[in-house]
């Protein structure tokens, strides 16, 4: 394991719940993970599994009501963010910890020039002149490879293309050189050639600035190409964690295996026309009515009696490869 001081983020037993008309549910349940300086941790899972709520919990931006963080700790550079009051949190948010979204207009103000928005973000946290901040804004736009950054700084978000807006949002998020960047599906809405550009950019900048990165995605291809470590979530829980190499070489959880088998691959030469894909039967369960035992049991080919009765603990299967499955040991043979 890495030196403790190397940890940028250390999340322990995070629990976030929602109180809704259909009942109370745990959107994030007992989630622990850590991110080192310069490391990329991917969080992967299908829609509704709690990825965005995890991100919002780290940022302390969970809408309350209906949501609330009810347990755990989120240590950023040693400080528990959950113990801060709101004004202390404001001085951390956008400064030491930043977030970018799938839809750039979530964080860009449509009626403010791009450059001014970055200036505002920087001056919120640093005591510098507006002129200095403007210099930083143009420099950030250059860093995210927006052509003619000085001219672009004077434009409004709607004057930029989708890919350029994404870059502007990244520039703003990184302007204060945060220790941790959270990217929630940053390329999901983009075309594949633009996605490749933006992912390459994020990784370059991360390397350059030493930022820790939490990259949230539903795309296992993006995970494989970007992350060092990965967490697989299902119904609010971490069901598997491993280095990317270990996860793709030998997934331990039947859900992870199922996901991997269900993605069509760009065929290598000689692949037969139209092969059927492996499918995971059924659908993701409703969080309001989770089964008592393993949440994946209704869809799992390997489910046994015990799975329906008891939730499997996360066990270490060697080298920090964690999986929560009663039959993880046998998965490779039987699945």
């Amino acid at each position: 394991m890495a030196d403790k001081t190397d940890l940028v983020l250390d999340v322990k037993n995070l629990k976030t719940v929602f109180f809704t008309n259909s009942g109370l549910f745990k959107a994030v349940d007992d989630l622990s993970f850590s991110v080192r300086r310069g490391e990329t941790l991917a969080i992967v899972g299908e829609s509704g599994c709690g990825k965005s709520v995890t991100a919002l919990s780290l940022m302390r931006l969970v809408p309350d009501p209906p949501g609330r963080i009810v347990g755990g700790s989120v240590a950023l550079e040693g400080t528990d963010l959950l113990a801060l009051d709101e004004s202390e949190m404001r001085s951390v948010r956008g400064n030491r910890i930043s977030m970018i979204f799938q839809e750039p207009m979530t964080s860009l103000n449509p009626v403010m020039r791009i450059g001014d928005q970055i200036v505002e973000a920087v001056r919120l946290h640093r005591n510098i002149s507006s002129k200095e901040a403007q210099g930083i804004a143009v420099e950030m736009l250059r860093l995210v490879r927006i052509p003619e950054p000085a001219r672009r700084a004077r434009e409004y978000p709607h004057q930029l293309s989708g890919g350029m807006r994404q870059r502007a949002m990244i520039a703003m998020a990184l302007a204060c050189r945060p220790a941790l960047l959270i990217a929630d599906e940053p390329t999901t809405a983009l075309d594949v050639t633009i996605q490749a550009q933006i992912l390459a950019l994020i990784l370059d900048l991360q390397k350059e600035l030493g930022t820790g990165l939490v990259l949230i995605t539903h795309d296992l291809g993006v995970v494989a190409q970007t992350a060092q470590r990965v967490i697989v979530m299902y119904a609010g829980r971490k069901v598997e964690e491993a280095s990317v190499e270990a996860l793709f070489a030998a997934p331990k959880h039947p859900y992870t295996r199922g996901l991997m088998a269900s993605i069509p691959a760009v065929p290598a030469s000689g692949v037969a026309a139209q092969a059927r894909l492996n499918e995971i039967p059924g659908t993701v369960p409703s969080l309001v009515r989770l089964p008592q035992g393993c949440a994946f049991a209704p869809r799992c080919k390997l489910a046994i009696k015990r799975c329906e009765a008891e939730y499997p603990p996360l066990s270490d299967w060697g080298g920090g490869h964690l999986a929560a499955c009663w039959r993880a040991e046998e998965v490779a043979e039987v699945a």
């Binding site: 760009v266 692949v271 894909l277």
Partner: protein
């Protein structure tokens, strides 16, 4: 290729861009700008390309949901480009469409059974009792339970709603089903279920698919042939295996290189193109890809490459022809 079911020749669809109080035309969107292809019986032709390149406009033109600006659409050898509404009616039955967003295309106030049975009822193909039995069979074919016929769209999951759309498309026993991004909104595990269903149904019924998606892996999986579009034109078309093994157009190469491969040991992301797709309002002159092409030459700015045969039914529209700089 086998006998052609659908033949599209030099299809164009232009939209005027108007501005100002007088709504004067200030430009033209070249949404589809000279597309030709043929689709065989029982064949799946995949149409890929980034958003705005004209895929949906091709789909809608083929189905005559929009009127083409010019060009020709032949179904079973018959020119249907200019048929009147009534003359088109028998052809409507044989061409169906499945959209990306199953929720938007389902009437929330109709039961799933009525939605699927509606086209049969409208065409008067099955009286009373028989209709129910046919709808029940369609439900079974797409993996829904007949006892769900009385449920409303919101009571189904996204994947199940897409199954309802597919059942409705099947109802009139079509020969062509146009699928416009049918799995793009679905989670991967559900996406696999729907892709398998589409493959199984084609094997049973022998109809043809025009299958549109922006996800190359999905298209690669389901198609026999694949056409790549860029700014309103087909830049490359070939048998699936040939296209992926031997992509010749620089844009196809860039698309393929951009797909993140789900294997950490495979080569890392290599963006082979810079910048965004230019606007189709004033598309670049010559080869429309020249503003982003690694191999662009002076003459690419003025000469428009035609889609030419490069052997084995592999067609490419590039002045280099093989995209590697070797020339023709």
């Amino acid at each position: 290729m086998t006998e052609a079911l659908l033949e599209v020749t030099d299809l164009k669809k232009h939209y005027p861009v108007r501005a100002g109080v007088l709504r004067r035309q200030v430009g033209t969107v070249h949404a589809v700008d000279g597309v030709s292809f043929a689709l065989g019986i029982g064949e799946t032709l995949g149409l890929v390309g980034e958003s705005g390149c004209g895929k949906s406009t091709v789909a809608r033109s083929v189905l005559r949901l929009v009127e083409p600006t010019s060009g020709q659409i032949r179904l079973d050898g018959e020119d249907i480009t200019h048929l009147s509404k009534t003359a088109l009616r028998p052809h409507r039955r044989s061409m169906q469409i499945v959209f990306q967003d199953p929720f938007a295309s389902l009437n929330p106030r109709m039961t799933a059974g009525d939605i699927v049975g509606e086209p049969i009822a409208v065409h008067g193909l099955a009286p009373g009792k028989e209709l129910d039995a046919r709808v029940a069979r369609l439900f079974e074919q797409v993996g829904l339970r007949p006892d769900q016929m009385g449920n409303f769209p919101h009571q189904f999951s996204g994947g199940q709603r897409q199954r309802i759309c597919i059942a409705r498309a099947l109802a009139l026993e079509p020969r062509l089903i146009v699928c416009d991004e049918p799995v793009s909104a679905l989670d991967v595990s559900i996406q696999a279920q729907v892709i398998n269903l589409l493959i199984d149904l084609q094997r049973q019924h022998g109809f043809s698919y025009l299958f549109i998606a922006h996800d190359l892996a999905v298209v690669a999986h389901i198609s026999h042939r694949v056409a790549v579009m860029y700014l309103g034109r087909i830049v490359e078309i070939a048998d699936k295996d040939e296209l992926f093994r031997n992509p010749r157009h620089p844009y196809t190469q860039a698309l393929l290189a951009s797909v993140p491969i789900a294997n950490p040991l495979a080569k890392k992301l290599a963006p082979l193109v810079d910048g965004d797709v230019p606007s189709p309002v004033n598309p670049p002159s010559g080869c429309a890809f020249h503003t982003r092409c690694r191999f662009a030459m002076e003459r690419c700015k003025t000469e428009r490459p035609a889609l030419l045969d490069a052997g084995d039914g592999h067609q490419v529209a590039c002045l280099l022809n093989d995209g590697t700089g070797r020339g023709r």
